[in-house]
């Protein structure tokens, strides 16, 4: 009698009914090769389980105990991308103004505007619009093509759920800021802006591109994006059409 690999695996996982189990055992008793295949499956299972066994004995971090008890805590390990802990609000295009106001003006942009290098945005009619240099980069530069010394690097381009095109960027010269802007009514509206992560703040020298978006910008991206980011061809096509939805 021959058995499929899945049956042998199910045997090793103790998932067979009594009759099939007995048949496998009888066959294995008479067939050393079959017995060996079963032993291999069992050994793999035992090995995986043993490898992870020490994790059970590790002390549980206090923040997890607090979370299990329902204590309000916002502390997370450092330098780890923030997870989405709560259901995401579905912002519509018409609410973007409010989003921009709270994200950019209230929380993040305020302190940034005081930086000596100045902010890469202009306020017009209550909207935060990219300044001339940033607008030019957003309109013309393709993602990931900037020379290492370029002042502005485009991260990724994507379509928002509203249909508008949006792009993330890093400004190397303004104290290293990362942000997100969407094309709206013939202008680039900056919806999020925050100090870039993963950059050395010590003066001078080469700054590496941020390896992770600052959480406020990453959150804005997650809220806005529809589907996946544009690939190179789609991005070039969008640029050719002037980033019109």
């Amino acid at each position: 009698m021959s058995f499929s690999e899945e049956t042998l695996i199910a045997y090793a996982d103790d998932e067979l009914d009594a009759a099939t189990r007995a048949a496998v055992e009888a066959a294995a008793a008479a067939d050393p090769l079959l017995a060996q295949r079963i032993a291999q499956q069992r050994a793999l299972r035992a090995r995986l389980r043993a490898a992870f066994e020490p994790v059970l004995a590790e002390p549980v971090p206090e923040r997890l105990l607090a979370a299990a008890r329902g204590a309000p805590t916002r502390e997370r390990a450092d330098n780890v991308i923030e997870f989405q802990a709560r259901p995401r609000p579905r912002w519509s295009w018409s609410q973007w103004g409010a989003l921009a106001a709270s994200l950019v003006l209230g929380v993040f942009l305020g302190p940034l505007l005081l930086r000596p290098a100045g902010a890469p945005v202009d306020t017009r009619g209550g909207r935060m619009l990219a300044n001339v240099a940033l607008s030019r980069a957003l309109s013309e530069q393709l993602a990931g093509t900037a020379a290492s010394a370029a002042p502005i690097e485009i991260g990724v381009s994507f379509r928002a759920r509203s249909g508008a095109y949006c792009r993330t960027f890093v400004l190397r010269e303004a104290g290293s800021l990362a942000g997100l802007a969407c094309r709206e009514r013939s202008a680039w509206q900056v919806l999020a802006l925050a100090p870039a992560e993963g950059t050395s703040s010590a003066g001078g020298g080469y700054r590496q591109a941020a390896s992770a978006l600052p959480p406020p910008v990453a959150r804005a991206l997650d809220e806005l994006i529809a589907g996946e980011p544009l690939d190179g061809a789609a991005e070039a096509a969008a640029r050719a059409h002037g980033w019109k939805p």
Binding site: L44, P54, G70
Partner: protein, 163 residues
């Protein structure tokens, strides 16, 4: 509710082990556990009375993991990925060599196969429970397990003699 909290505390070591099988480093795994705990407490009312606590929270953790993978996939394309090297170095400093070897083999599996392995082989869930957590038919689970085991045997088999 207090009973649920006590049960969650008791389940913490297993939740951390499950998350460790999915995530690439301990810090990410613990973040995942924290998100799952927060969601479990927020959605406690939606738990079916007859459902096993472990399977229910594993399902929540699995969904949180999938959400995070999607978000991470997008972010990974944003900027220079300086992550992978650092993570391996970080893991090498803290994890036992055997755990590291197994984690690296697991990392080579497609997500859905890794989940199946974590639930059945590491957490010891039955096929039925694991299929329920993964929201797939049992046949789908067993074929994922079979493919995952084949890959793991070839990746880990060579080092087994030394271990």
């Amino acid at each position: 509710m207090d009973e649920l909290r006590a049960e969650l505390v008791a389940l913490l070591p297993r939740l951390r082990r499950f998350a460790r099988a999915l995530a690439r480093n301990a810090a990410d795994a613990d973040d995942l556990v924290q998100v799952a705990l927060e969601r479990a407490l927020a959605h406690a009312a939606q738990r079916r009375p007859d459902s096993q606590l472990a399977a229910w929270v594993f399902g929540i953790l699995r969904n949180a993991w999938i959400d995070e993978q999607r978000a991470r996939g997008r972010r990974a394309r944003l900027f220079v990925p300086a992550e992978s090297g650092a993570e391996i170095a970080d893991a090498a400093g803290t994890a036992a060599p055997e755990l590291l070897a197994v984690q690296q083999a697991l990392a080579r599996l497609p997500e859905e196969q890794r989940l199946a392995v974590a639930l059945v082989l590491i957490e010891g869930l039955s096929y039925k429970e694991a299929a329920h957590v993964m929201e797939v038919p049992i046949g789908t689970l067993t074929s994922r397990l079979a493919r995952a085991r084949e890959t793991l045997q070839s990746l880990l088999g060579a080092t087994e003699a030394n271990g």
